[in-house]
């Protein structure tokens, strides 16, 4: 009985060694960079982490339609190095000593990549499945490009400035025109008075002929 058990175990062990080895069929290499991802908070890679990994792969296989009976013992790890890198394969739970086709494993892992990554606090770059490419997430693009908004703001400011300057220029122009026409009118009045030679109401009759333009400073004129 014991001998039979030992024989069975050794067969299983040899079979496992056959199934899981570098570059075996349907085997995948995994490379983990914990220190790069977590720095000082890095945990050590030990047997418990390996168990978690097996559990996550089994979980991924279960979620993927046809493999709902996959057990943790179906996931085999081998060649663990200090890097940390290792190979793994998933054996078929229904049939003995065969491995699940690589395409199924790949699809299952791809579907659950996020969950696997977060279980280990890693990302696509630090938990690499070397033959499984990850789909890149599209960059977030707002509905209106940001630059158009900024451009709109800048343009509004500029147009406001131009309009302000033009309007103030026109006002100054109008004021200057009004002033110059007023001065012209004043000069005309003076001309009229001079041309006639007859003092008008604007002149001070008592003090003689005083030119209205220069009459601003009355003190300068000595009274006659």
């Amino acid at each position: 009985m014991l001998r039979a058990l030992l024989l069975a175990l050794s067969v299983v062990a040899i079979a496992h060694a056959e199934l899981c080895k570098p570059d075996a069929q349907n085997a995948f290499k995994v490379r983990i960079s914990i220190k790069t991802a977590l720095g000082d908070n890095a945990y050590a890679w030990d047997a418990n982490e390996e168990y978690l990994f097996k559990a996550m792969v089994a979980f991924a296989m279960r979620r993927y339609s046809s493999r709902s009976t996959t057990q943790i013992s179906n996931v085999l790890l081998c060649n663990v190095t200090d890097r940390v890198s290792f190979w793994f394969v998933v054996t078929d739970s229904s049939k003995n000593v065969t491995t699940v086709p690589g395409s199924e494993v790949e699809a299952a892992i791809r579907m659950n990549r996020n969950r696997i990554n977060s279980a280990f606090l890693l990302s696509d770059k630090t938990l690499q499945f070397l033959k499984i490419t990850s789909t890149l997430s599209p960059p977030v693009e707002p509905s209106t490009p940001v630059w158009l908004i900024v451009f709109g703001v800048v343009l509004c400011l500029i147009v406001a400035g131009i309009v302000f300057l033009i309007v103030s220029g026109i006002q100054k122009h109008k004021k200057k025109n009004k002033e110059s026409t007023e001065r012209e009118n004043l000069e005309e009045k003076v001309e009229v008075t001079l041309e006639n030679g007859i003092p008008c109401e604007a002149l001070d009759l008592k003090a003689g002929h005083i030119n209205g333009v220069f009459a601003a400073d009355d003190e300068r004129f000595t009274s006659l």
Partner: protein, 611 residues
Amino acid sequence: LSATPEIPKEDGRPKWDNKFQYILSCIGFAVGLGNVWRFPYLCQTHGGGAFLIPYFIALLFEGIPLLHLELALGQCLRKGSIGAWNTISPYLGGVGVGSWVVSVLVSLYYNTVLTWVMWYFINSFQEPLPWSVCPLNENRTGFNEECYESTAVNYFWYRKTLNITPDIAESGTLQWWLILCLAACWAIVYLCTIRGIETTGKAIYVTAIFPYLVLTIFLVQGLTLPGAIDGLIYLFTPNLNTLKNPRVWLDAATQIFFSLSLAFGGLIAFASYNPTKNDCEKDAVTVAIVNSMTSLYASIPVFSVLGFKATTAYWDCLDRNIISIINKFDLPEESIMRQNYTSWISFLNSSYPEKIAGLKLKSCNLQEFLDQSVSGTGLAFIVFTQAIILMPGSQAWAILFFIMLFSLGLSSMFGNIEGVFTPLLELQIIPKSAPKELLSGIICLISFLIALCFTLGSGSYWIDIFDRYAGSVPLLVIAFFEVIGVAYVYKIKRFSKDVEWMTGRKLNLYWHITWRFISPLLLLTVFMAFVTLQMQKPPSYTAWNPKYEGFPMKEEKVYPPWVQAICVLLAALPCVCVPLVALFHLVKQKGRSKDPSFVPPEVFPCQGANS
């Protein structure tokens, strides 16, 4: 009678609010994009600190004398470039016309460079910066191919900004985003120059001072970056052997010349709004020294950032090699660090040489990364933007950097536009009753419409052509005739009397010697050397062609004959004005059968007021 209002001595000519505004405008005109992206490059490629020797010699014998000449001329004659040279002698009127043509040509393409700066500025408000990531390709399996093969920064510049065509003969289409930015830029120029120096005088306080603030901020930030010191040492390490190469002296002379914005007519225009009793000698020396100091000051942050970028690239190179080695040999993480990389490599090479050879490791050499120097638009839009991505808080640095570039370019645009605006105002192209705003509006609108050509796919190739041919040789020719005209046609004796009246002291022997002999000789030598160097090889350009085998290297192409004809036209058009106008007046005089005299015996304003 005190009742009458005081009649101003001026002829209704606008004037500066104060002396500081005038100095600031001249400094703003002189200090431009070239101080930031051409001088540091020249300094670095021509032997670092040793370059300062030919630079300061050129400043002393070419820059300062020509600057003083232009400022004194404008101040004395109180007219723009065309009017001033017509006053000196109708035969020399062509010099003024030539200056005016050059100002027009340069304004056209200079504002398009500012358009690019504005485009980058409005794109700096995004997180992440659009030039830091490559866009995905159509089926989202990888990155866009053109971007992946070059870099994200290159892709954003050549594809997203310029949408450049692979050849200058292919014009491509008008890029609508560039048209929007171009319109905004010309609107800003119109806003600031709407009433001539009345408005530019106010705007210059911001645009001339702000760049110094930003440069200081970048200086402080730059010096704290890792690798900054390497960059600075690399910049300033003097290599006196380079002085034996005549190319270095030529570059120094042309740099001083273009850096001070001489022969554009803008300085004459600025000085013409001064009161005649103003010390133009001190002004000229001040502006020239401030311009050179700014160049030196700007090269420090530029080279700190470049050193930082080179160091980061070097570290990236090392890190990539380390990762390949660790992955190949399945060594634990952080077993190989940058410090012990070389010892590890030698150990592994001796034990497993085939494996190491199979990895195809790139050799990482810091000197090589430092040597990748660029000038011009490449420095600002490719190298610097890449460095900004690596800095923490990159949006803020990008915004600051591009506002600084915009201010630098805008204050130079004021001088260019003034060089176009003032002579037109004096020639009374529009009736006197029409407001000044109309003339500046017409100038800006027409320039905008012509500059639309530069927003085509091949636009940046054309800007290179304009920069190389319209903004170089004609200026040398015009400056040469300026000096000859004042020294030998107007006669130095008269000019020195004018300057003495204006400044209040006797003209130094230094000015006599430089104006009469050294500057014209130097200009002639520089012109000959420049033209000879240009003629040595057929004019070529480098094109960005994604289908080129050596991509991402740029493809070297020769200009087609019709483009070469345009180059010659651009260079010759301003120069040919000088003899044409002289010939025109000669024919006119012969027609009137009067005795042709070179200098009409007029009394100039600065001498006339002396009585």
